[in-house]
Symmetry: C2
Amino acid sequence: MRLEKLISLMKDQGFDGALISPGTNLYYLTDLHLHEVGERLTVLVVNARGEYHFLAPSLYENVIRGFPVTFWRDGENPYEKLAWILAELQLPGGRLLIEDTMRADWLINILRLESFEFHPLSSLVKELRMRKDRREIKLMKHAATVADRVFEELLGWNISGIRERELALKIELAVRELSDGISFEPIVASGENAANPHHAPGDRRIRKGDLVILDYGARYKGYCSDITRTIAVGQPDERLVEIYNVVKEAQERAYRAVREGIKAKEVDRAARDTIAGAGYEKYFTHRTGHGLGLDVHEEPYIGPEGEVVLEEGMTFTIEPGIYVPGLGGVRIEDDVAVIDGKGKRLTRAERELIVL
Amino acid sequence: MRLEKLISLMKDQGFDGALISPGTNLYYLTDLHLHEVGERLTVLVVNARGEYHFLAPSLYENVIRGFPVTFWRDGENPYEKLAWILAELQLPGGRLLIEDTMRADWLINILRLESFEFHPLSSLVKELRMRKDRREIKLMKHAATVADRVFEELLGWNISGIRERELALKIELAVRELSDGISFEPIVASGENAANPHHAPGDRRIRKGDLVILDYGARYKGYCSDITRTIAVGQPDERLVEIYNVVKEAQERAYRAVREGIKAKEVDRAARDTIAGAGYEKYFTHRTGHGLGLDVHEEPYIGPEGEVVLEEGMTFTIEPGIYVPGLGGVRIEDDVAVIDGKGKRLTRAERELIVL
């Protein structure tokens, strides 16, 4: 179990304990998938001597197995039980790691128990999670292949005239058919809407001359894919075709820049320089990419401040874009893994401009 | 804006400020819908003198309008800007309300800024949110009507032989067609799976003789509905029919118990006594209901410890159930509002046992 690795890191770095609430870190460390926990206190308490104990609401009685565990029932005060577990594990204070996404009201109650110094758990776990092992890469490759297959499938759909939100739903259903579900709400941004990189699919109908940004992903056994392709419905404006080719070139150059030992920001620079060289620098308003794994956004981030040195097994997106207000936008995104010292695309769908 | 009401409560109860991150409380207080905020610090800072200021990542530049606001860009340290805002609003410490669902890593960073005493924001806002006004009841009625219509629709589907997860997807799509989306992942629990009140829809095929628990809801302009009906596919076991009638009676009695001025636990007791009278007490393993509004679970909770006194405009579910391991289960749930001093069902779908 990867929990042992965390404990060894905790010892090395002088942490006394960790309080791990449900989320992707808990899943990564224990293989326990506790979904929809809501407001009821659920934590795995770990100390640096390698002892651990779960506290969970009684509705998880059939889910949490193979761990020392204390259940609490509605009407009981779970923080009294937590205080008892902290005492049992000899954690009467000290340097404590806290799951980053834990609810603040839980942490406020924990603050009242003892005098701790808190640190985000991700600061340690990200070191483990950033480097994927072979099994993880395999699962990510599967999720990426689902994204590719859905792209091929959607090229056969009649897209002209339908609303962005209808297309987003069709994409979602196609992804769900082939995987454990979507990794995030699909983005469909058409025409002038494509100039907003965070556009939510709306009622606009896709029409001739549009470029349409499609950004979606699948989840498979916890692992995510995240692809973007930009397609044309009918022949687009010449300027959009020019922009498309700049983005494609930037994406390719960033991809080729990937190798073990360089910093993340060098990958970003390869994309940014290409776009700047074509005069579109001010229209590239986000990072070149982000780490990908159990979360859709995780380390390493591929941006101008990316100091992480790329290593074997790291997985991230490369997704430069150009967004011109009033005109439209283009983004092309692949999932990339560092394998045998070089970048390898996990998503492999067509990157040439497709005109439907 | 309801933010003024919060400020007035803060003054009365001696709070110096509030840090409100995105979620249903922020939406309730400001009408701002900030979705998918993720890991980037986003907070509304409020002081008890009625001054407020937003801190948000630059990607919300077109979303947050009508508020004093400071944006921060990737690469900047947002907590330095937060310290500046706290100083501007004269909050150099004191009693601070914190949005309950704020990420713990944000709170850990806030802990390092000043010496505050933290309290969960919901302790004040729940007082406001528990009593819905006319507009809110209207939106909830709309969401409830969607649930009713989907129930009528699904009675026309051919359910025998399909998998639980397929039926869950069909329900989800029907709800999405008529509303802003589902209020939670639909539950479909058939046969012996229905004995687990938290069953996730799986690959089991629905077959003759099954009772099937269907638990789902719609969201409309932020407000939720939540309905459960239990239907039979072919004539069920006599004992299941008996259980069905006990649950129906318990639900009806709890509903009739609702009136202004009584405690929530008295509604729970009406259901619990009915089930105990029939000898099934140990198979009723959860609360009778929960408050409903912008969240699917909120105050007032309708359980044995429910000390909240029911008031005009409160909205909650009434959903007793009986779950017999190895045999199956029954749950019947309606959304109820206190109107003119009495309970009024918002969901009105058929409650008699329907045999398909």
